[in-house]
Symmetry: C2
Subunit: 331 residues, 2 copies
């Protein structure tokens, strides 16, 4: 029987609060540039008082990927946890408005919906400060097993390993996926996240993952090397497909027997790199779900990433389906 | 004694929820194109369920003007009402982050912070749907008389006349201003707002206003004519200065004895006209507060309006002070 969903994402449901800032601002406030910095409620408040005027858009790594996947015309669902507050309403609205199935019961009487303060520096790099809020309550109970079974592929964030209950939810989802013939894809999320969970992630990659996404910093951190070639060698064959993004150098798709180099799509002006990896995964998985050749999957990833870095904000603002048609990458 | 603030704005404190939409969408949902449509809580929810993915940015006509004024380097304050919720926190953050004095005690146990759902059509026109929420509670008590007296100019929205308590607040502010030697400026806000309050506004213009802002549709509605020349004739001399914006035709500054035509600043791509009038007023009042010639005030208005229509969102995203310096319009 064909599955209802082509892709179901699981991740931290987050609203992004985006402000411009300088390198001096990052240094003054001890924010690690380019990283996802976890902050508690107190530091979140402190940083919010310090940042400039902001815009709010729905974010969250896997949720961004689902938005891109839906923009390409894919049929998707999402599992994550918001609170019963205005930010949670905003996040849920955007998922549903994008045509993504999202059936979360908002958390009552607990922490607020998660927010991520993103400082965009003049070089278009983004530095994130995430207060996980209600995401901490994302647990096995939130993993709808019938939805997992009814999905062709699931997509999971490495970030889920940052909280014990979310990690249990992750493992429940992969277990169900394997039993139901659902493919499992994983993004390593962030090099510091890899540092925190290296052993767990190595086990996940070897035992529970069909498709792995990583950027260069993450794959180097995973195998504790400074040589990209060595990292590729180390990961090759560990799962069916590994797609490694290398910023302006494009991406490399690695299987047991093949290495496919995919160029980037040129962008006139890079405004904000937030969501580049998320959108690459969206494009790649759209192609993969529709059984396209791996090189086409990579080209769709490049297309989606190029769109999102051309403006501020982590989700596509133009129809990726139309862009893909124009470039003859989709029907 | 010199006054502490160059400009204090009074208005509806609103968070904008911006989504793209088509003319068909507007027609289907009975939204008057280009207008500010007032909606109740129920219709607000209905429309929110109908609109596409959105971004949230702080808005509110006079608040947008204050943001532009501060971006030019002006010293400003703002009076308006938010609720004790996440949207209210967001609005307050943006005012303070912009360097604008905003000392509102958030409303507890009442309606939520006001929000305005703005549909931007492909022609860059914006159609607004405003749920006034906590703004309904803005009243005389919120008008800090010492702040009014300590401001060189106050700036008021015609929109304040849409609710009885806000109207009383308006009148208290103008009364105090006149007693304290503070100049009073008014924007007519919206042609439908003019229709609702024509007699009141005519009295305000004649008796309580030094500087009047209107766009072409508003000034025509005010004097119930289709002739721009007749409208100018009707308003001339009613207050010290009248600045009328005419979209791509530029603006016209009208005093008892003078008519100054001000060209627009060219914009490569008009993305969203939201905030054009608000930013024109910001630029104009910055020049006026610093005793610049009226033609320069108009040029600063054009500069600020051009910045804001070049991107989505109602407030400047680049430093207007730097733009003004580049164009030798400010020190």
């Amino acid at each position: 029987m064909p599955k209802t969903y082509e892709l179901t994402g699981l991740g931290n449901a987050i609203v992004d609060v985006i402000a411009n800032g300088t390198d001096d601002f990052l240094a003054k406030h001890g924010i690690i540039k380019g990283a996802m910095n976890l902050v508690d409620a107190e530091r979140s408040k402190y940083l919010y008082d310090a940042i400039g005027t902001a815009r709010q858009v729905s974010g969250g790594s896997a949720a961004n990927t689902m938005a891109g996947f839906a923009s390409l015309g894919g049929k998707g669902a999402y599992l994550g946890k918001v609170a019963d507050d205005q930010l949670g309403e905003f996040f849920a609205h955007d998922m549903r408005a994008g045509g993504i199935h999202f059936d979360c019961t908002p958390l009552k009487n607990g922490p607020a919906t998660a927010r991520c303060m993103i400082i965009v520096t003049p070089d278009a790099q983004r530095s994130m400060n995430t207060y996980l809020g209600a995401c901490v309550e994302f647990s096995e109970e939130d993993v709808d097993e019938s939805l997992i079974a009814d999905s062709k592929i699931i997509y999971l964030e490495g970030y889920l390993f940052d909280k014990p209950t979310a990690k249990m939810a992750y493992l429940k989802a992969t277990k169900k996926a394997r039993a139901a013939g659902t493919k499992v894809s994983l993004t390593l999320s962030d090099s510091f996240c890899v540092e925190r969970h290296r052993a767990d992630f190595q086990k996940l990659i070897a035992d529970e993952t069909d498709i792995l996404f990583a950027n260069e910093a993450e794959i180097l951190a995973m195998y504790q090397t400074t040589s990209f070639e060595d990292a590729v060698k180390a990961v090759r064959g560990k799962c069916d497909v590994v797609a490694i993004t290398r910023s302006e150098k494009g991406s490399v798709i690695v299987t047991a027997t093949e290495t496919i180099e995919v160029p980037v799509q040129p962008v006139a002006h890079v405004a904000d790199t937030t969501g580049a990896g998320d959108q690459y995964a969206a494009g790649f998985l759209f192609g993969y779900a529709r059984n396209m050749p791996l090189a086409t999957c990579g080209a769709l990833g490049s297309l989606a990433a190029a769109e999102v870095i051309s403006h501020v904000g982590p989700r596509p603002e133009t129809s990726l389906a139309q862009l893909a048609q124009q470039q003859k990458l989709a029907a």
